[in-house]
Structures are given as structure tokens and as C-alpha cells.
């Protein structure tokens, strides 16, 4: 392929070459970035390329990525903050529409060759082409994550995806923000051809150009989904579905999308005009700003888990209880080999059963499930200690038992193995002092349920070896969790903040007779995923009692007593069917309180006050590194209203407004 040298000297991010068939191969390799994203500069250069293509038509055009294993991850989110004014944002969006429309109108075969992550703007650019080929491999995924950032696909995606995949599939894809595997994308019509692991994307693209391939549009049935009366019905259903997960006041983006589609779904030109308008407004709105912040916080936590290059193969978990068993199962799902130890086989068996359900649910393919089962070994004698790369202790909260255990395993461990405790209540140095090398011990504190909670607190103290802390964080990254380093202190970050929150709810219930339903409503209307009372019942009142007693001290005596009363009566919350609420089929039965009698805003403020106070205290005491990381912890560890950007960010915004 001869390089078109003059073109190459102009472009920073694009490489062009023409082959003997006069096909132009257009590669995006964004300068200075490890992943391709569509920044303004990238799009501006693309516009110049298109200028030339409009005057000098090649035999065909193939778009590919110059970064092996990664296609285009979307628009450049970092540039979104540059838009202060909705009108300017709309203009910017309109410009991109015009560019993509020009591409769509080019009069020769236009093929996209996709290998790796193809999301958001990347997928939208691909949809402007005639035909899309993707590698059918594990690292290729396609989807629209925009709603997670408080907007919806604004580069023509809401129009083109509906035209290509049919309204129902396209809308569900955009609303769910799910990433599709290549096979699913093909079934939906977003991808036209798959290339297997032993195939060649280049030659498939070449064949497609030669044959002038165009993708097939959806059939009659799917086109029916775009008829006005059908849209009205579907829109209603979609609104209901989304409202169950997201309050329209807090998360406007999905509802804007549904609205636009309900009105203009069968008119792609109009849908694009709506994108300019609505996405322009959304991108400059407060929710999107906060959600972008959440995205960057997530990247920050992920980066903490990428500090070292260590690979982890074997994990040894001691304690097959609820936490230990689930930690072991999760590590197996992530591909590791795990040995699970407890005093006798009968204590390990329930964990093995729960693990099997998790494998069935997550892995589905019976061969993969069998593979996972073979990677989880019960280990009563603790033989796994000497071969483990990571050892996690999750036995009951008794400092003497833990000390004895650690003294016993230290001499048998691999010299560079990560040694961690899952304790939530015992200070690190009370355990580590029994070791010959106390600096080795860190805490890796998981949350319940392990498979659903992405945050993990990495606990360290003055003595801890920084390299071990980094490796503990890397281990969390390797099992797909977000590590948050915290200094060893009562409650660390999450439990400390939550215990104050739950205790306050109980005190407001006792002292002001506010019904528990109202308290929970106040919290959810603020944006918390779950009210404090429902949370207490879900965590388990026995656990709450211990946490409140440990962390609350004198000021929480009444609350501790109330909890104790319930625990002794066997009312442990969700797990026993009754706590503060009566639980049926996994849901709490709520009484029909008339909330208009109550000053919800004031209740919310009182309720959240200890939450914020605890956050400020944790920051002031240097338990976490900075306010951003604290916000990240509270969002990913407790689901603190993401649209508010995090507790400390929220306070800062509020303070700024006042």
C-alpha cells in the first residue's frame, strides 16, 4: 500500500493509505492517547479528509483503528466541560451531524472494520457508513453509554440506530447502556458481518468494498415499531421501566430520549434536530456535569488498581461464611483459582452451593460453569496457603482467633504473597503485631453482596508497606472491583458514614415519631438509592447493632438499645422476614403514609446531616486521600446520588450557590 505522504504530514490523528484497488484505508490513531476518542481536533481533521474524499472519490473507503485491540471509545468526555452555553453546545452538535451526513452521502462503498471497544460516538460514526464488520472476540464490544453521562447519543445515534436495528432494540440499547457482544450486535443489525479469531478483518473489509456491500435494513415487523400509535404505547412502557430505576427530576436524559422518539421516531432528520436541541441542553445541565464527574472518579479508582503489573493466579480464602464464601466465588468468576478454608468441610459446603448458583447466573454456559467449579477447591487443611498469590482472612471478628491464624500461616506463605484481612471492626495493628513482618498485613474490606458492590476499601496504617498496599489495590483491579485506600480507623469510610446515617434515622423515628416510610422517602427523594431504614433492614439489624455500638458511642445509646431490642426478638430485618419493615418476597411492605403532612425537605436535611458531617470528619482526619476519592467511595460504596456528584461535591456546590 503506498502511503499518501502529503496527506500524512497534515494529520496528527489520522493515517491514510491507498492500495492497488484504489481503496482508501483510513486509520484513527489519536496522538498521545492510549484509546481513540472523537475530540474536536480529531473531528476537524476528519472533516478535512472528507473534503478531499468529496472531490477525489476512491473506489471505496475503509475506516479502522490504528490502535490494536481498541476501536473508538466515544466522544472526548473531557471536552464536554468546555461547553458553558446550551446554544453553543447545540451548534457544536449540529456541526458533527453535518460531518456525519456528508460521510453518509459519499458515493462509494464505505466499510467500517471494528476490533475492540466501539462505544458512543464511535458507534455513531460507524453507523454513518454502509457496512460494519466486527471481530467476534472477547475484547470487542459495542454500545451507547451516553445516558450514564447524563446525555443521550447526540451524534446521530438516536436516529441511525433506530433506522438500523428497529426502534425497540435500539431504544432498549440506548436506555440500558448495556455493552453488546459482537454476536448480539449482529443479531440486532448494528453489525453486518463477524470475523472469527482466525479470520482477517482486512480481507473481509476488502471483499465488502469489492462487492459494494450495504447493510440490510430491518424488516416489516421492526419497521412497524416506528408507527406513531405503537410508539405511544412503547414510550409509555419505557417511561415506566426507566422511572423504576431513575427519578426523572434527577436523571432527565433517558426521558428526553423517550420523548424525542415518541414524537419524531419515524423521522430521522427530525430526531437529529432534537439531538442538537435536547443533548445540547443536557450536556450543560447540572446532572450531566455531576455524572461526568462520577465517570472521572471511577477512572481514578480504576487507576489506583493499575499501579503495578502483578498478575494474580491463586487466592486462598480463610473463612467460608457469607463474606468469605462470596469473596472466593467472585474471584473464581474473575478467572482465578481459589482454595477455600474452614474448620470442617460442612462449613464450606454452603459456600460451595452459593458459589454454584453464582456461576450459573454469571457464566451460564455449562462448560464455563464446570470450569469455574473446578477452580474452587475446599481446603480444610489449608494446603493452598503455600501456593497462594493472595491470602484473604474472613473469619469471625475475634482478635485472638485472627492473631493465632496469622501467626500460623506467616511462615508458610510465598514471600511476595498479599496478606489481607476482611475485618471491619478490628484495628489493623492489633492483628499485625503478631507477625514477624507486620508491615505485610493490609485490609481488603469487601461489601455485601460481594458480587454486586463494586467498591472495596484497602485498609492500611502507618506501618504498612506501600508496595503491599499497591499490590492489594492491583488485586482488586484484577477482580474487577474499585479499590479505595483508607487509613485504619473505626468504620473506615463507608461504615462510619452509613452508621451515622442509619442511627440518625432511628433517632428521628424515636424522638420525632416520624414514620419509617417517610424517613425512607425523604432519603430517596434526595437521590439515595435506598432509605436508611430499608438499608438497615437489608444489611441486617444484628450487623447494624454492632456497627452503631462500635462507632456511635454515648450519643447512640438509645438507637443501640432499640436495635438490641429488635435483635433479641429475632427481628433481624430482610434476612429474617421482619425488622423495621415486614419483608415479603424480598421487598419491604410499606404503609401508606400521606407524605404531605411532613416537611420532607427539612426531614431530608436533618437526615443527611450526620452523613455529611461524617464525610467531612473522615476527610479532615486524613483517612482518605482527598475529597474526590471520598466522593468516589460514597458513590460506589453506598450509591450516594450520582447525579449530585458525591457528598462533598454537593456540599461545595451548595456552598457556592449560597
Amino acid at each position: 500500500m503506498k502511503e499518501t505522504a502529503s496527506k500524512n504530514t497534515i494529520f496528527k490523528h489520522w493515517k491514510l493509505s491507498t492500495d492497488i484497488d484504489n481503496v482508501l484505508w483510513l486509520s484513527l490513531d489519536r496522538e498521545g492517547e492510549s484509546a481513540n476518542s472523537l475530540s474536536l481536533e480529531v473531528l476537524s481533521e476528519l472533516s478535512t479528509v472528507v473534503d478531499d474524499l468529496e472531490t477525489n472519490a476512491p473506489a471505496g473507503l475503509v475506516l479502522q483503528s490504528g490502535k490494536p485491540g481498541s476501536f473508538i471509545v466515544g466522544a472526548d468526555v473531557r471536552e464536554f466541560d468546555d461547553y458553558e452555553d446550551a446554544g453553543l453546545a447545540s451548534d457544536g452538535i449540529n456541526q458533527v451531524h453535518r460531518l456525519f451526513n456528508r460521510i453518509e452521502a459519499l458515493p462509494f462503498p464505505k466499510i467500517v472494520a471494528i476490533d475492540g471497544i466501539c462505544l458512543g460516538g464511535g458507534l455513531e460514526l460507524a453507523l454513518a457508513f454502509d457496512y460494519r464488520i466486527a471481530t467476534n472476540v472477547e475484547h470487542t464490544r459495542l454500545g451507547f453509554p451516553e445516558i450514564k453521562l447524563g446525555i443521550y447519543p447526540g451524534f446521530g445515534g438516536s436516529a441511525r440506530s433506530v433506522q438500523q436495528a428497529g426502534a425497540y432494540n435500539a431504544m432498549q440499547l440506548m436506555l440500558s447502556t448495556r455493552n453488546l457482544r459482537p454476536g448480539a450486535a449482529r443479531a440486532m443489525g448494528l453489525v453486518d458481518e463477524l470475523v472469527g479469531p482466525h479470520g482477517s478483518l482486512r480481507w473481509a473489509a476488502r471483499r465488502a468494498v469489492k462487492k459494494g456491500r450495504k447493510s440490510r435494513k430491518p424488516g416489516q415487523l421492526k419497521r412497524l415499531q416506528n408507527f406513531a400509535p405503537v410508539r405511544t404505547q412503547m414510550a409509555r412502557m419505557m417511561r415506566k421501566q426507566v422511572a423504576a430505576r431513575a427519578n426523572p427530576e434527577h436523571y432527565p436524559a433517558p426521558f428526553e430520549l423517550i420523548d424525542a422518539w415518541e414524537r419524531y421516531g419515524d423521522d430521522p432528520q427530525r430526531m437529529m434536530a432534537e439531538e442538537c436541541d435536547r443533548v445540547g441542553k443536557l450536556i450543560t445541565g447540572p446532572t450531566s456535569k455531576s455524572l461526568r464527574r462520577v465517570f472521572f472518579l471511577m477512572e481514578r479508582l480504576k487507576a489506583i488498581g493499575k499501579q503495578t503489573d502483578t498478575s494474580f493466579r491463586r487466592v486462598h480464602v480463610i473463612g467460608a461464611g457469607v463474606m468469605g464464601g462470596d469473596i472466593a466465588a467472585w474471584c473464581v468468576v474473575q478467572g482465578m483459582e481459589v482454595t477455600l478454608q474452614d474448620r470442617e468441610l460442612k462449613y464450606i459446603e454452603p459456600a460451595m452451593k452459593r458459589a454454584k448458583s453464582l456461576f450459573r447466573k454469571k457464566l451460564r454456559d455449562p462448560n464455563k460453569v464446570n470450569g469455574a467449579l473446578s477452580r474452587l477447591q475446599p481446603d480444610v487443611e489449608g494446603k493452598g496457603v503455600s501456593k497462594a498469590d493472595v491470602i484473604i482472612e474472613a473469619i469471625f471478628e475475634d482478635v485472638d482467633a485472627k492473631r493465632k491464624l496469622f501467626a500460623d500461616i506467616e511462615p508458610r506463605m510465598k514471600p511476595d504473597a498479599v496478606l489481607a484481612t476482611n475485618t471491619s471492626a478490628i484495628p489493623l495493628d492489633e492483628i499485625s503485631s503478631v507477625l514477624k513482618k507486620p508491615e505485610r498485613l493490609i485490609g481488603i474490606h469487601f461489601f455485601n453482596p460481594v458480587a454486586k458492590m463494586p467498591l472495596v476499601e484497602i485498609v492500611y496504617d502507618k506501618k504498612s508497606d506501600a508496595a503491599q498496599v499497591a499490590r492489594g489495590a492491583a488485586f482488586c483491579g484484577a477482580i474487577n472491583r474499585f479499590p479505595l485506600p483508607v487509613k485504619s480507623s473505626p468504620g473506615f469510610l463507608v461504615n462510619r458514614v452509613l452508621s451515622g446515617y442509619m442511627a440518625k434515622a432511628m433517632s428521628m423515628h424515636l424522638e420525632r415519631n416520624i414514620p419509617i416510610e417517610i424517613l425512607d422517602k425523604a432519603a430517596t427523594s434526595f437521590g439515595m438509592p435506598m432509605g436508611p431504614v430499608e438499608l438497615a433492614d437489608t444489611v441486617g439489624l444484628d450487623v447494624c447493632m454492632k456497627v452503631v455500638t462500635l462507632l456511635g458511642g454515648e450519643s447512640s445509646k438509645r438507637e443501640a438499645a432499640l436495635l438490641q431490642e429488635k435483635v433479641y426478638a429475632g427481628e433481624l430485618g430482610k434476612k429474617s422476614g421482619k425488622g423495621f419493615y415486614v419483608w415479603e418476597k424480598g421487598k419491604p411492605k410499606r404503609a401508606d403514609n400521606d407524605s404531605s403532612q411532613y416537611a420532607l425537605e427539612e426531614i431530608t436535611e436533618s437526615l443527611m446531616q450526620p452523613y455529611f458531617e461524617a464525610c467531612k470528619a473522615v476527610l479532615a482526619e486524613g483517612i482518605v486521600e482527598d475529597a474526590d476519592v471520598l466522593d468516589a467511595g460514597m458513590i460506589f460504596g453506598t450509591g450516594f446520588a450520582p447525579f449530585r456528584g458525591g457528598p462533598l461535591y454537593y456540599l461545595k456546590q451548595k456552598g457556592a450557590e449560597q
Binding site: H198, N367, G371, S374, R375
Partner: protein, 426 residues
């Protein structure tokens, strides 16, 4: 080319765990597995993007589309696409033969580096139409007129559609490997208990090796599997003794599913090279491939099908001047426990050594403690073409761990052949 022969260095091997057919690798192809083990070598020895001189690999059960299997696997792997891939096959001797061939080229200076590998899956069986229907289809595709088309379809009966699947047997005798070995066991009077004991020992030794970490570098987890799933560390002699015989139902039958290898899917590879190449790439040498020999027996005229290794080893010993006892380790492929025991008995038999091998005295006995010290095919499984590479890799690592020594490899194959080799670490 060199003036004198060079030593052939074995750097080390890599394989994926083996699985019983139609279990965890049921939807994997030979191409998938062969690429995976080549990549295993690449990862283990840091050869990303490297060009090696040759990859010699093959499979016994192949699809016609895999005619260029070794080369396709190279193209799907992380080796430079400028690496040649040569597809070869000698039934179960494939990857050992591949290593010996690469070895000869390295010794004579033709090449510097190569990977010998083998793969097999009986889950992904190449099922085809019978000849009659296949020819009918070909005729139909060549027909141009309606008359020709009708002529091509004339005489069609639905029975022609019956698919033909590959069989694990000898085309001339119509007996399977197991049935042939059953005859050998009866001829050499190998007791059931001895076969079961050998099988039991193999499982125990392999399981112990896994626990001790011996296979940590050799076996790379793949497709969610981390350990050979044929391995039964918890089996007992009692359990083995209750299994019914599978190749013969008569009273003299002794071969069971427990003392015969199961149908297995998997692949294995080993990296061989010149000492200069190893030094350039800063790779330590585990052992050296000294020599090898192939032999064949006339099983059609009643020689034992799987007795050829006795001949190959005898000839190799004659040519090297070594005695059968001059080895510290013996890796004898356990196609069937009976095959191993027949081989050992044959070497001990004065009559056999005189009549068949033309020797003055019997080759003698081997110290049983030195045979398959970390288990072998009965325990870990036997994907036909992969076994040779698995055995070389295991022996090279055993010698490295011991520090020095000499090992003998012996592999029997379908079609009445045997391949053997000597691996040494001075």
C-alpha cells in the same frame, strides 16, 4: 550449515490443561488449541512478535480445512507471520517426531529455532458424507443441463445421507487400538491387577506433581480450565478393579476404562533451538535432545500393534552404545497400562530379545521407580498428537530440577510404529 553437529537445546514446553472429550473443550477446534499453546510458548519465553525458523505441528483427527494447520496456527498466534509452519503427522508420535526433525535441522545448522507441537480433539469430529453422496454432489455441481442434473441424481437413496464419522481403529484389521492391546495383554499375560496398579500410580503421581507446583510453568490455564480434568487423585485400586472391561467381554479380558487412556482434547508445544539462539535470547536451557529413532512392526501379520517401541529403543541403544539401564528417568507413554507392561516384559524376555530384536541377551529390567515419576497419559489424558511434546517438556523439566541426568522417551503409535528419544542434561 556447520562443519560439525551442534547440540539441540530444549528451552522448555507449554501446554493447556487436557480435557476429556465433549467436556470443557467441546466447542474448541484444533486451530484454537494449537494457537493457544504456541502463544503459551511465546508468553513463557517472551517471544512476542518473534520470527522462529519453523513450527512443526500436526493433529491426527483433522478437518480438510486444516490442511495447513501448523501455518494457520502460526498466523493466529503472536509469533511473527514470517514464521513457517509445517504440518506433519505420525499418529501419536507426531510432536515427538516433529521435535526430532527440528532437532536434526538444528544439529546440522539448517535452522536455529523451532517449536514442535501437537493438538487433537475428538469432540470436533470431522464428520463427512459417505463417498457415494460426496461424488453425487460433485457430479451435480459440474452438471450444466437438466439432463445432466437428473443423471447425477439418479439412483439416490436416503441411506446415502448417513454421515461417516472418524473411527479410532486400524483400517486393515478393523480392530481398535484397545482391541489390539487387549490381544497383546493376553499374549504377554499381563494381569488386570498390575494394569490397575500402574493406572493408580499414574494418577497419584500426577496429582502430587500438581500439588507440588511441578506443572505451574508447564500448564497454562485456558478456556476456564486450570487442571487436566481426567485426573482422579481420589481414585482407588478398589474402584479401578470394579470397572468392567471395554474392549473384550470374554473371561480373559483385562483392559478397562480405568487402565486405558480416555479420548481427550488438548494441545502441547515445546521450544527447541541452537545454544547460540538460546544465549542470544537470554533463555536458559533445560536439557538437550540427543537422538531419536522410529521403528515399525508388521502388525497385519500378527505382531503386536503397539510393540514397535521395543524395536525402536533397541535399535537406538545399539546405535548409541548405551544399555537400557543407563538412564535416570523413563517417560513411557501410557497408551494403555498393558502396553507399558508388555513393553517392559518384552525387554526382559530373553526369547523376544533374541528372536525379534536379534540381541544376544535380554535388554533387562528397568527400575520401576524411575518410570513416569510425575504420572503420564493415563492420568493427564492423551490428545494424540500432543503427547510427544508433553513428554519432552516434562522430561526436560525433571532433568532441570534434578540438576543432571539422562532420560529415555518411548511412544507407541497407531499403524504399528514407535518413536523414541534420549534427552540429557550433563
Amino acid at each position: 550449515m556447520t562443519e560439525s553437529l551442534r547440540r539441540v537445546a530444549i528451552v522448555g514446553g507449554s501446554r493447556i490443561p487436557f480435557c476429556r472429550s465433549n467436556t470443557m473443550y467441546a466447542d474448541k477446534s484444533n486451530l484454537d488449541m494449537l494457537s493457544a499453546v504456541i502463544d503459551g510458548i511465546v508468553t513463557r519465553f517472551d517471544l512476542n512478535g518473534e520470527q522462529l525458523d519453523e513450527v512443526m505441528a500436526g493433529a491426527v483427527m483433522t478437518h480438510s480445512r486444516d490442511f495447513n494447520l501448523a501455518r494457520e496456527a502460526v498466523l493466529s498466534s503472536k509469533l511473527s507471520p514470517l514464521t513457517t509452519g509445517i504440518t506433519l503427522q505420525q499418529a501419536c508420535g507426531t510432536s515427538l517426531q516433529g521435535a526430532l526433525t527440528l532437532g536434526a535441522k538444528i544439529a546440522t545448522g539448517q535452522i536455529e529455532s523451532g517449536i514442535a507441537a501437537g493438538t487433537d480433539t475428538t469432540s470436533d469430529a470431522p464428520i463427512v458424507f459417505g463417498n457415494k453422496f460426496a461424488h453425487r454432489m460433485i457430479n451435480l455441481s459440474q452438471a450444466r443441463t437438466m439432463k445432466q442434473r437428473l443423471a447425477a441424481l439418479k439412483g439416490f437413496s436416503p441411506g446415502e445421507l448417513k454421515p461417516v464419522s472418524p473411527t479410532n481403529g486400524e483400517m486393515r484389521t478393523h480392530l481398535s487400538m484397545g482391541q489390539h492391546c487387549e490381544r497383546m495383554a493376553q499374549e504377554w499375560q499381563i494381569a488386570r491387577e498390575d494394569q490397575d496398579q500402574l493406572a493408580f500410580d499414574s494418577h497419584q503421581k500426577a496429582a502430587a506433581a500438581y500439588d507440588a507446583g511441578f506443572f505451574d510453568e508447564l500448564v497454562t490455564p485456558w478456556n476456564g480450565v486450570s487442571r487436566d480434568n481426567n485426573l482422579r487423585p481420589d481414585t482407588s485400586l478398589e474402584k479401578l478393579s470394579t470397572l468392567r472391561t471395554v474392549f473384550d467381554k470374554g473371561p480373559k479380558a483385562t483392559l478397562s476404562a480405568g487402565n486405558s487412556t480416555s479420548l481427550t482434547d488438548g494441545a502441547a508445544a515445546v521450544l527447541v533451538c541452537s545454544e547460540d539462539w538460546a544465549a542470544e535470547h537470554k533463555l536458559p536451557v533445560q536439557a538437550y535432545l540427543t537422538t531419536g529413532r522410529s521403528a515399525a512392526v508388521d502388525f497385519v501379520n500378527d505382531e503386536g500393534l503397539l510393540m514397535a517401541p521395543t524395536v525402536a529403543v533397541a535399535e537406538m541403544l545399539q546405535r548409541t552404545g548405551l544399555k537400557l539401564q543407563d538412564f535416570d528417568f523413563y517417560e513411557i507413554h501410557e497408551a494403555f497400562a498393558a502396553q507399558v507392561l508388555c513393553t517392559l516384559k518384552a525387554w526382559e524376555s530373553e526369547e523376544y530379545c533374541r528372536e525379534r530384536l536379534g540381541l544376544d541377551k535380554p535388554l533387562g529390567s528397568i527400575d520401576r521407580e524411575k518410570i513416569n515419576i510425575h504420572g503420564s497419559s493415563l492420568a493427564v489424558g492423551h490428545p494424540f498428537a500432543a503427547t510427544g511434546a508433553r513428554i519432552i517438556s516434562t522430561l526436560a523439566q525433571i532433568l532441570e530440577e534434578k540438576g543432571s541426568g539422562r532420560g529415555l522417551i518411548s511412544v507407541c503409535t497407531a499403524g504399528g510404529m514407535g518413536v523414541c528419544a534420549i534427552v540429557e542434561r550433563p
